[in-house]
């Protein structure tokens, strides 16, 4: 039982950054912007969170630093794609390349420096419940935030007026503009929300998942988060489910490596990436359902006529 609990805890820790980053991207994509720079914003958030934590000794300052740098970085993307209508795919790639470079450069001074592990927040009484108590109510800040994020985004998108407008802008920016909705401003905010989430997810990596700085430590998680959004058909609760599926695959292969089953470790390490492809196939093969769910203006440039 204790073994089982331990595995579940690690699954949650591995899933949380995926869920957080994917929730941010989901909002951006719902507004019609495809930001492929998640990986870059995540890694820059990771390194800045780590450095800020090291300087101040407080992981909470680190969390704020991660969020702020992720959001600031996404502004670069916003300026290029929204103001200068640059190609979104290429700009997202630029963001990732720049993020990997900048994080490697500023992180060089803290390679090998021991990190400050964030302590779990134990909720009294609830955490005493057998089995689920220690798993759900004695977690770190990021886990609680990820759940709040999913619930909050779901409420925002489908229950609030502002969320309705955001979806309208993502589905038809032309009509939304004619109705007087602020297309560009909404997209800027959505992109920044995405950046903030990616930065927060990065902070989780360097403060909780492996509390240290390793170059390229995001290891493609930003891209998996992007795939998760497709997997979830742009619906928040499905992001949660998908995130845990990927977390389980990641942890499963680690345990399989530890048990020394017959397969080479590299094949097991490739599993999360292979799983991403398989899942994309399953989700995308029905062209009709994908088309229904995809925000209609996703990735399309918008220039307001004056």
């Amino acid at each position: 039982m204790i073994m089982f609990e331990a595995i579940l805890l690690t699954v949650i820790t591995a899933s949380t950054p995926l869920v957080i980053a994917a929730m941010g991207e989901l909002v951006a994509e719902r507004s019609g912007v495809l930001n492929l720079g998640v990986e870059g914003m995540m890694i820059i958030g990771a390194v800045c969170a780590f450095i800020a934590t090291n300087l101040t000794g407080s992981p909470y300052v680190g969390v704020l630093a991660g969020i702020a740098t992720g959001a600031a970085f996404s502004l670069l993307f916003g300026f290029l794609t929204l103001t200068l209508v640059a190609n979104q795919v290429a700009t997202g790639l630029a963001l990732t390349i720049l993020g990997l470079g900048v994080s490697g450069m500023i992180g060089e001074s803290v390679v090998g420096v021991p990190g400050v592990k964030m302590q779990p927040i134990v909720i009294p009484l609830l955490s005493d419940i057998a089995v689920i108590g220690p798993i759900l109510f004695a977690q770190d800040l990021f886990f609680y935030l990820s759940i709040l994020l999913v619930a909050g985004v779901n409420w925002y998108l489908f229950k609030s007026r502002s969320g309705l407008k955001l979806r309208a802008i993502g589905d038809s920016h032309g009509s939304a503009h004619t109705l007087g909705l602020p297309v560009i401003r909404t997209r800027y905010l959505a992109v920044m929300f995405g950046g903030a989430c990616a930065g927060l997810a990065g902070a989780q990596l360097s403060l909780v998942y492996t509390p240290q700085w390793v170059e390229n430590m995001s290891a493609g998680r930003g891209w998996i988060a992007l795939a998760l959004v497709v997997f979830a058909a742009w619906r928040p609760w499905r992001v949660l489910a998908g995130g845990y599926l990927f977390g389980a695959v990641t942890i499963g292969q680690l345990h399989a490596q530890a048990l020394g089953i017959g397969l080479p470790s590299q094949f097991l390490s490739a599993l999360p990436y292979a799983a991403t492809i398989v899942v994309l196939i399953i989700i995308s093969h029905n062209r009709r359902t994908t088309l229904i769910n995809t925000p209609a203006c996703l990735g399309k440039p918008f220039v307001p006529d004056r």
Partner: protein, 363 residues
Amino acid sequence: MRIELERRSRQSSLFAIVSPLLALALTVFFGGIMFAMLGKDPVSALFSFFIEPLLEVWSLHELAVKAAPLILIAVGLSVCYRSNNWNIGAEGQFIVGAIVGSILPITFYEWNSPLLLPMMIVMGAIGGAAYGAIPALLKTRFNTNEILTSLMLVYIAQLFLDWLTRGVWKDPAGYNFPQSRSFVSEAVLPEILSSGRAHLGIIFALIAAVAVWFMMRYTLKGFQVVVLGQSERAGRFAGFSSRKMVWFSMMFSGALAGLAGISEVSGSIGHLQPTISPGYGFTAIIVAFLGRLNPLGIIASGFVLALTYLGGEGAQLSIGVSDKVTRVFQGLLLFFVLSCDTLILYKVRIVFDRARNAATKRA
């Protein structure tokens, strides 16, 4: 203050040439600021980064060695991007090309024949094309996003190469180093001049660039690429198949990436090892855009990006900055290229709100 865009009635041919140069200038300028922030004298840092590598014969050879894979991959990617297929997994196709091309010199390591090298090169290109065909198959058959699948395949290819060089293909006489047997001399791509390391790879790259330029400009295939890329509907009316174009562009760019992979392994490295590329497949994306997706422009931009690798290595030694500076420069450059490209299609006006309000009032 706000920035307004006004669509030009036609593309500005002036800015089509000026915008990459402007992007370069901006990158160098901001690079200087970055060096200053790192506490280095910006002028001498920029000098040792961008100029010093050009002053010696051996480093000009190194420039050609690094430009070769970049140009080869980018030329293939330009066809892909022109046709609106987003292959960003060239790094994986590069690796698989290198692996498949190395089958002969590693498994039949005693075999030497003049046929060996041509066979390796063909196999390398086939390997890259086959790996590029996977996202094409998934896109045409299952409607899967090729950006994500081709990228995931990069990680898988890297891990597979790692397994090969630490496992079944590890050199039994290699003191347990994670690398394969060294290639016999018949399997090594010859150098073009006796003065340095530049090998036939750069010749392949130049030939590929000119051939693709010809294809894009003068052949029906090139026309199909452009039409389908700009409007799938228009292409369909013309009787062009967008499904076939997915296959063609992904396999074509994969083949060139694979060719780059085997050229790199047999020309510069001489054996397989866990890491064979400093991110050529990703940097080639920047090369393609800086060259404005034009094969001849890509030749020039390939050398520029090759210079950033060389400058990074040099600057590490001479002024003691991290070689990560290379990546930062590359990222900055792509940013500026993309923003300057706006000038080709749009007039950019900076409007100050006060002036704008006054103008509206008058109207």
